[in-house]
């Protein structure tokens, strides 16, 4: 029992790694995840709209992109982009692997987010687009104002799940060899674990991941429940009524 506790929960090692995890690791993990989520969302929406286009020259490249980036292991893509671009496009991207890590994560996320958006948009009833067009809206306006907002709402839980996956996948940029100040949670835990031969720093890093991902998992459940059971309606400025979405 002592060996078990000492291997995984050695307080001295955990205490030693905590400041770095808190100051450097958490910030870097969040920066990697949030920036790549934002870029992945923008690119993913473009892929979804292109993938649904009736124009073949838009649809095919979007499908090919999605097939390739979803089909490759994340680590392979990260290494190819992170190390490859650092060599062949050094003049443009510089030698700093950090933005390349974000780029690689963004490109991977975009393929998944694009598919999530596409399924959401496709789930919106055809009548919504028809009604918008019948009111004189252009196709673009109808998609932007009516179809896409409803499609996105429906896939919010899947999007949050994708963000959780991204938080975890951000640990893979470890292979790009970041500077000390650029290390994310896993790398910090791993470095001390390697130096000490004790796994407690990795357990501490794991706890940090859980602190981020577990509340997000509950957020997914909450959003999912709200979407299924209806939501409260905004307060009307004239009548000051607050009513449940289920009122008949």
């Amino acid at each position: 029992m002592d060996t078990f506790v000492n291997t995984f929960f050695n307080w001295d090692y955990i205490r030693a790694v905590l400041p770095d995890l808190l100051r450097t690791g958490l910030a870097n993990t969040l920066i990697l995840a949030v920036f790549s989520a934002l870029a992945g969302t923008v690119l993913g929406m473009g892929l979804a709209v292109a993938g649904l286009s009736t124009k073949r020259w838009l649809r095919w490249p979007a499908r090919m992109y999605t097939d390739i980036f979803r089909g490759l292991p994340a680590i392979l893509t990260i290494l190819l982009i992170g190390q490859g671009l650092a060599v062949v496009a050094r003049n443009i991207v510089g030698r700093n692997p950090y933005p390349l890590g974000i780029l690689a994560l963004s490109l991977i996320a975009a393929a998944y987010v694009g598919e999530i958006f596409r399924s959401g948009i496709q789930s919106v009833e055809k009548g919504q687009l028809e009604a918008s067009r019948a009111l004189g809206m252009s196709y673009a306006k109808a998609m932007l104002l009516v179809v896409i907002p409803q499609g996105v709402r429906r896939v919010l839980p899947a999007l949050v799940n994708q963000f959780i996956a991204l938080v975890k996948d951000s640990s893979l940029v470890y292979f790009l060899g970041f500077l000390t100040s650029q290390r994310e949670l896993f790398r910090i835990g791993q470095d001390l674990a390697a130096n000490t031969g004790n796994l407690s720093p990795l357990v501490a890093a794991g706890i940090f991941y859980l602190v981020i991902t577990v509340p997000l998992t509950h957020l997914v459940n909450y959003i999912d429940k709200r979407l299924r059971t209806g939501r409260r309606v905004e307060v009307d400025q004239f009548t000051q009524l607050t009513v449940s979405g289920k009122v008949a």
């Binding site: 009548g127 067009r133 009111l135 009516v146 905004e234 979405g245």
Partner: protein, 241 residues
């Protein structure tokens, strides 16, 4: 302002299936024409051709005597209101927003102006108090009345109704039909695809019977319902009346 509608020799095919086979239909300014016929006879497609939600393979569409077959379809649709069987209200917006959204995005009205029109139209259909609700909080009949208010808010010259009461519970049908009859009385040009034979008899100026992609018989309600001349219409009426 109402306007006449004329369809000339309209043909529509879906792959090898000919859905409309040379349809002619003339609706005078301020007239109400009810289109009746069995399921799959092409009634809804005919209606969708009027505002070019369905582009015809050939034929011509005239509004107020002018061809609109090559006109900008978005502009054309601003002149023609359409009400669908399943309401098609925007579920992510409140009732008020459902009406102001097209006013603001298509007609480019200021928020305050759009809301003023929307509230007036909602009051007309008896739903002024439902402005802040989501469509899902309303009954089917109420949703359809909101859909009518939304179409009317765009100030259309023609209104199209595609089986507007077919998806409603029987007790909710009457309110919607009364609202449609009121629009007919106000002199809007209406083209109504319906299975409500009572409504067609009482409200329509003209009834057109469609079968297998053709307008088989057209006439005043009295003629069509009491003295049908074609065997196909006689058979149809014997089944539905």
């Amino acid at each position: 302002m109402a306007v006449s509608v004329e369809l000339k020799d309209i043909h529509v095919s879906f792959d090898t299936l000919e859905v409309l086979r040379g349809v002619d239909l003339a609706v005078g300014e301020g007239e109400t024409v009810c289109v009746i016929g069995p399921s799959g006879s092409g009634k809804s497609t005919l209606l969708r051709v009027v505002n070019r939600l369905q582009e015809p393979d050939s034929g011509d569409i005239l509004l107020g005597g002018e061809s609109v077959i090559a006109a900008d379809s978005d502009r054309l649709r601003q002149r023609i209101g359409m009400v669908f069987q399943h309401f098609n209200l925007f579920g992510h917006r409140t009732v008020l927003d459902n009406i102001t959204l097209p006013l603001r995005s298509v007609r480019k009205l200021a928020k305050a102006d759009a809301e003023e029109i929307a509230r007036a139209r909602l009051a007309e259909v008896g739903l002024a108090d439902k402005a802040p609700y989501r469509p899902s909080a309303l009954s089917g009949g109420q949703q359809q009345r909101v859909a009518i208010a939304r179409a009317l808010a765009m100030d259309p010259e023609v209104m199209l109704f595609d089986e507007a009461t077919s998806a409603l519970d029987p007790e909710l049908v009457k309110g919607v039909l009364e609202l449609m009859a009121g629009l007919a009385e106000r002199g809007l040009t209406l083209i109504v695809v319906t299975h409500e034979m009572g409504f067609a008899r009482q409200v329509a100026d003209k009834v057109a019977f469609m079968d297998r992609g053709e307008v088989v018989e057209t006439g005043e309600p009295g003629e069509v319902f009491d003295h049908p001349s074609s065997p196909r219409l006689q058979r149809f009426l014997s089944q539905v009346l």
